[in-house]
């Protein structure tokens, strides 16, 4: 497999119990590419993302992420892989008992970075997402848009090689959405992070080249 291929799927089938959600899909994504994933509600967009960070295992076919076979991956390897991913959820999934700053550096805490590094990184990242004044605040004191910006900052805090975002701007105000798209463009354009974003609306202004996958009738198709 070529070194710069980050995701490679062939004959990929994903199911819940006996219900197949994705069937016999094939696609691959190279390092530094930006991919939008769209499709009708219930088509399996979130399911596909879950398979990419190992929340569900493929029931048939092959799925390789960062060189690791997601069907046979053991829990230690999966744990290791996850520390190199940046995941953004539609419902933010922030830790409400932690300050915004601590939330942002969760990946650094897991990796065992010192308090000093955590602090400087938290400041830098919060500045990026325009939330410097919320350093010591708690997630529930923030608006939805602000919480999601914290979520994106957290996903980017350890420079992941792959960023997976499930409707990050789902029901956010325009300002927050723009901040988030800007960040993702930068991550991809400058840091060469591979980005996969599920969204129901591709932003009209987008400054870097991107690919567009549609999930429909259990298949994953590319729009050219």
């Amino acid at each position: 497999m070529a070194n710069n291929i980050v995701i490679n799927a062939s004959h990929l089938t994903l199911s819940y119990g006996d219900t197949e959600i994705i069937k016999d899909a094939a696609f691959s994504v190279k390092q530094g590419e930006f991919v939008f994933i769209t499709g009708p509600s219930g088509s399996g967009k979130s399911t596909l993302l879950k398979s990419l960070y190992g929340q569900i295992k493929p029931t048939a076919g092959k799925l390789v992420v960062g060189g690791l076979d997601m069907r046979t991956i053991n829990s230690n390897k999966l744990q290791e892989l996850r520390t190199h991913l940046g995941i953004v959820f539609q419902d933010y999934k922030l830790i409400n008992e932690w300050t915004v700053a601590k939330n942002v550096v969760l990946p650094l805490i897991i990796a065992g970075y010192s308090m000093d590094v955590q602090e400087t990184q938290a400041k830098r990242l919060l500045k990026h997402v325009k939330l410097s004044d919320k350093y010591g605040a708690y997630p529930l004191e923030l608006s939805g848009g602000e919480q999601q910006r914290v979520g994106v900052a957290r996903a980017m805090s350890k420079n992941p090689f792959l960023m997976l975002a499930d409707e990050p701007t789902g029901n956010l105000d325009e300002y927050s959405s723009n901040v988030i798209w800007d960040l993702m463009e930068n991550a991809c354009g400058q840091l060469k992070t591979t980005v996969l974003v599920v969204t129901h609306r591709i932003p009209s202004v987008f400054s870097i080249p991107y690919r567009h996958f549609i999930i429909e009738n259990k298949g994953v198709y590319e729009v050219h």
């Binding site: 929340q55 999934k93 830790i95 008992e97 990946p107 805490i109 897991i110």
Partner: protein, 271 residues
């Protein structure tokens, strides 16, 4: 308020387990001295034609730990009062040998009966006397109490363990979201369940200290001030410093086991 309640619902069942264990330790110690007393107080009285030493008795039954000959001199003296010396010597020679034998452990009456029978079948032994009645009664009562206490402690521990796990589930539920988020970001199990371990360990130590305090109070205050002779005699057995370590280790074991039960039962399944 909720904080206190949260912790008491963990500390109380934990203490119940520890109290049960400590009670058992104390019971075991005090009754082993009681058992010793029963054993010491119990003996068989043997009348034999020939002289028998301990090894010979042990050949007949290995439980026999001691044989004391009853000296005939005193007997003879009493008998010989007012009788001529030669006839008293005759009497003395005609007298059989008397022995008191003791056993190495506390034996069930049925075992004692079989020992008695086996002794009686030996041709050198003419008669074996036992004091079976009081012995049997106290033995039965004793083993019944021991059994009842054991059963009670085990039952209490099981119920309490159940409560401890329940409380952990409550905590786990409170921390579930955080643990799941951390898991998605690749945090190892120790980091994810760290909070649970921390809270539970602190409570386990508190439970151990409280339990220890109760027994130390019993030992140094209650036992001293009470006018119960038996308590004063056994004061030393009530609590030993080493018990603290037994209790601490037990409570920490319970914490580790129940945290793992809870953490493993709620892994990604709920996603």
């Amino acid at each position: 308020m909720k904080f206190i309640k949260d912790h008491l619902t963990f500390i109380f069942p934990m203490m119940a387990i520890l109290l049960g264990i400590e009670f058992f330790l104390v019971f075991d110690r005090t009754t082993s001295s009681y058992e010793e007393g029963l054993r010491e107080g119990y003996s068989m009285f043997i009348v034999a034609d020939k002289e028998l030493n301990l090894a010979e008795f042990q050949k007949l039954n290995p439980h026999i730990s001691k044989s004391t000959p009853v000296t005939k001199d005193e007997l003879a003296q009493e008998i010989s009062q007012g009788i001529s010396k030669s006839s008293s010597e005759k009497i003395l020679q005609a007298l059989p040998y008397f022995y008191n034998i003791k056993f190495d452990t506390y034996l069930h009456t049925s075992v004692l009966d079989s020992i008695k029978t086996s002794l009686e079948t030996d041709e050198r032994i003419k008669k074996v006397e036992t004091f079976g009645n009081s012995y049997s009664a106290s033995y039965t009562l004793f083993s019944f109490i021991k059994f009842a206490l054991k059963a009670f402690v085990i039952f209490m521990s099981l119920v309490s363990l159940f409560l401890v796990v329940k409380q952990m589930e409550v905590w786990n539920y409170a921390h579930r979201e955080r643990m799941q988020v951390m898991e998605i970001f690749g945090a190892p199990l120790m980091l994810r369940s760290g909070v649970l371990f921390k809270v539970a360990t602190i409570d386990a130590v508190i439970s151990t200290i409280l339990t220890t305090t109760i027994f130390v109070m019993l030992k140094h205050k209650w036992a001293e001030e009470s006018h119960l002779e038996i308590l004063k005699q056994m004061q030393d057995l009530l609590f030993r410093p080493f018990d603290f370590f037994i209790l601490l280790m037990t409570s920490l074991m319970i914490v580790i086991v129940s945290v793992y039960i809870v953490v493993f039962s709620t892994r990604e399944s709920s996603q």
